[in-house]
C-alpha cells in the first residue's frame, strides 16, 4: 500500500518553532541541559527518508502509517536500526506477514521526546551510571558509556549498540544503531 504524506506543513511549523526559540546557538546551561546547536528544520520522517542506511525503517514507517506521526508536532526520538541491522533479523521478519512484528520491533526503538546524544551523555554523567528511557513499546532502553562511546541496550540487555551520528530534526531526533534492540529469538521447533 502506498500513500503520500505532506511534509511541507511541518517544515513550515518547524521553521516557526526555530524562530520562536531563538536559541540556535544554545549549548549548555548551568545544570547541563543542552539545547542542540543546529537542529534541522526537517521532521524525523524526512530525516529517516533521506538517510542512506535507513531505507528499511523508512519503508516500515510508511507501511505502518507512522509517517504522519513523525511529521507532526509531537516529539519522538527514534533509535533507527540500519538496513544491515534489519536484514540480520532473517527470514522470519520478511514479507508482508512480518509487518506487524517489524512494527512491534520498531516501537521498542522509539522514545518520547527530544533526546540528543548530549542529553543522554549528561544524564549518564549526572547519575554516575546507566540511564533508562521508556519506549513506545512496553520496555525501556538503557544508555551507558563504553569508553568514549555512547551505547544503548535493549530491555533485558540482549542487544546493545554504539549510537551513530545523530540527526536532529525539528520534531525529534534520529539516532542510528547497527543492531536491532529487541529480543527476537524464536523458540526452536
Amino acid at each position: 500500500m502506498t500513500y503520500s504524506v505532506k511534509r511541507t506543513s511541518l517544515t513550515a511549523i518547524a521553521a516557526a518553532l526555530l524562530t520562536l526559540t531563538g536559541c540556535g546557538d544554545e549549548t549548555a546551561d548551568e545544570a547541563g541541559s543542552l539545547a542542540p546547536s543546529d537542529p534541522s528544520t526537517q521532521s524525523i520522517a524526512a530525516l529517516i527518508a533521506e538517510a542512506d542506511e535507513l531505507s528499511m525503517v523508512e519503508q516500515l514507517v510508511e507501511d505502518a502509517g507512522l509517517a504522519q506521526a513523525f511529521d507532526g508536532m509531537a516529539a519522538y526520538t527514534v533509535l533507527a536500526p540500519t538496513d544491515d541491522a534489519m536484514a540480520a533479523l532473517g527470514d522470519d521478519f520478511t514479507g508482508e506477514e512480518a509487518r506487524p512484528a517489524l512494527i512491534a520491533v520498531l516501537r521498542d526503538h522509539i522514545v518520547p521526546g527530544y533526546l540528543t546524544s548530549a542529553d543522554i551523555t549528561a544524564a549518564i554523567e549526572s547519575s554516575g551510571g546507566p540511564v533508562e528511557m521508556q519506549t513506545m513499546g512496553t520496555g525501556t532502553l538503557t544508555f551507558a558509556m563504553d569508553g568514549d562511546s555512547l551505547t544503548v541496550s535493549s530491555d533485558g540487555g540482549t542487544a546493545s549498540a554504539v549510537i551513530g551520528e545523530e540527526m536532529l530534526g525539528a520534531n525529534g531526533v534520529v539516532l542510528p544503531v547497527e543492531v536491532v534492540l529487541k529480543d527476537t529469538g524464536v523458540e526452536a521447533d
Partner: protein, 344 residues
C-alpha cells in the same frame, strides 16, 4: 518575525503550567446506568484519585453502564515491567450484540471494577460514557488531581475468532494446525507485551494480523495488531474497543473527530470510508501524577526542542516530556511537581 506571529497562532507557546495538585483520593463511583443504544464500551477501571466520587454519570444514554471508577490500584512492581500495571479489574457485563469484553488482564492489584452495562452496540462508543464521577475535587487541576489525560491504555481482548479468519477457514485453527498451516507461527513465542500491547501473558499466537489467545485448542479471543488487522486502509475491527482522548490531546495531536484510540496508539480514520488512514500518535500511556514519583524510564532530559528555553533542567526543577505534557519534577523530593500543557 512574520513566522513568529504565525507560529504563535498555531502553538501558543506560553504554556502556563497546570498546577495539577489536587489529590482527592476517592472512590469515584459513578452512577450512570446507561442503557443506551451505543452500548457499553470496554469500561476500563483506570482513573483513580478522581476526587470524591459519587456523582452520577450524565451520559447514560451512551451506554457506559455501571461505570465505576475506583482507584487505579498499585502499579505493580516497577521491576516487573509495564505489563503488570495496576488498574484493577474490568468486567464486562452483558453486552448484547457485540462482546468486546473489557478484560484488563493482569494489571496488578487494585480496585476499580468497571462493569460494562447492557446495551446494543450499534457502533462502539467512546469510553467517556464510563466516566461517572461527579465531584472532581480541586479544580485547580483538571479532573481533580489527575490531569485529563489518557488512561485507557488497553482496549480489551475481543471474544472469539476474528471474523475474517472465521470466514476464511470456517473457524480459527488450533495451535497445532496453525503451526503447520502458517509460517506466522514463527511468532508463537511472543507474549502481548512483545507486540507493544499492555496485556498480561497467556497462550497467544500470531495469525494473519491478529494475536489470538488460546485455551488449549480453543480460541478465547483476539487482539488486532498495528500493521496487521490495523493496517492502513483496513476498516476498524468491528468489536475492537476504542476511546476518546481528552480535548487537550486532541488539540495537541491535531486529531479532529475522525480517530480511534486503542492500546496506546491513536489512529486517524478516513472521514469518508472510516478506514484507517494513518497513525496520528504513539503514546506510552505512562502516568505522571503530581505528588508522586515519575514512572520508571525518564532519566534523560527530553523536552522538545522548541520548549527548551522555557523548560530546562536547573537546580530548582527538572523537566521531562511524555505524551504531550512536560512534567516538572522537584530535584530534592524527586516527585512530580506540576504538569504543563504545551498548548493553550
Amino acid at each position: 518575525m512574520k513566522i513568529l506571529t504565525a507560529a504563535v497562532s498555531i502553538l501558543a507557546l506560553a504554556a502556563t503550567p497546570v498546577l495539577a495538585q489536587g489529590n482527592g483520593n476517592g472512590g469515584g463511583n459513578g452512577g450512570g446506568n446507561g442503557n443506551g443504544n451505543r452500548g457499553g464500551p470496554p469500561a476500563q477501571a483506570e482513573r483513580g484519585n478522581q476526587g470524591s466520587g459519587g456523582g452520577n454519570a450524565a451520559r447514560g444514554n451512551r451506554g457506559g453502564g455501571n461505570a465505576e471508577r475506583g482507584n487505579p490500584g498499585n502499579r505493580g512492581n516497577a521491576d516487573a515491567g509495564r505489563s503488570n500495571r495496576g488498574a484493577g479489574n474490568a468486567q464486562a457485563g452483558n453486552r448484547s450484540n457485540s462482546g468486546a469484553p473489557a478484560q484488563a488482564g493482569n494489571r496488578g492489584n487494585g480496585g476499580g471494577n468497571a462493569n460494562a452495562g447492557n446495551g446494543n452496540r450499534g457502533e462502539r462508543g467512546p469510553s467517556a460514557a464510563n466516566r461517572g464521577n461527579g465531584n472532581n475535587g480541586n479544580r485547580n487541576s483538571r479532573d481533580g488531581g489527575l490531569l485529563d489525560r489518557i488512561f485507557y491504555r488497553e482496549t480489551g481482548l475481543i471474544n472469539g475468532c476474528p471474523p475474517g479468519l472465521a470466514a476464511k477457514r470456517n473457524g480459527c485453527l488450533p495451535p497445532g494446525q496453525a503451526r503447520q498451516h502458517d509460517r506466522a507461527y514463527r511468532y508463537g513465542n511472543y507474549a502481548p507485551n512483545w507486540w507493544g500491547l499492555p496485556y498480561g501473558s497467556g497462550n497467544y499466537f500470531y495469525e494473519d494480523g491478529f494475536l489470538l489467545q488460546y485455551d488449549g485448542n480453543r480460541v478465547l479471543g483476539y487482539i488486532p495488531l498495528l500493521g496487521g488487522a490495523l493496517a492502513i486502509g483496513n476498516p476498524w475491527p468491528r468489536d475492537y474497543g476504542h476511546n476518546r482522548v481528552p480535548d487537550y490531546h486532541s488539540r495537541y495531536y491535531g486529531l479532529g473527530r475522525n480517530y480511534r484510540y486503542a492500546d496506546n496508539v491513536v489512529y486517524r480514520l478516513d472521514p469518508e470510508t472510516a478506514a484507517i488512514a494513518s497513525v496520528a500518535a504513539l503514546l506510552t500511556g505512562d502516568e505522571f501524577v503530581v505528588g508522586q514519583a515519575p514512572p520508571r524510564g525518564y532519566d534523560v532530559y527530553n523536552v522538545p526542542y522548541s520548549y527548551r528555553d522555557r523548560y530546562r533542567d536547573g537546580p530548582d526543577a527538572y523537566y521531562r516530556y511524555n505524551d504531550g505534557y512536560v512534567y516538572q519534577i522537584d530535584p530534592e523530593t524527586r516527585l512530580v511537581a506540576a504538569a504543563i500543557e504545551l498548548l493553550i
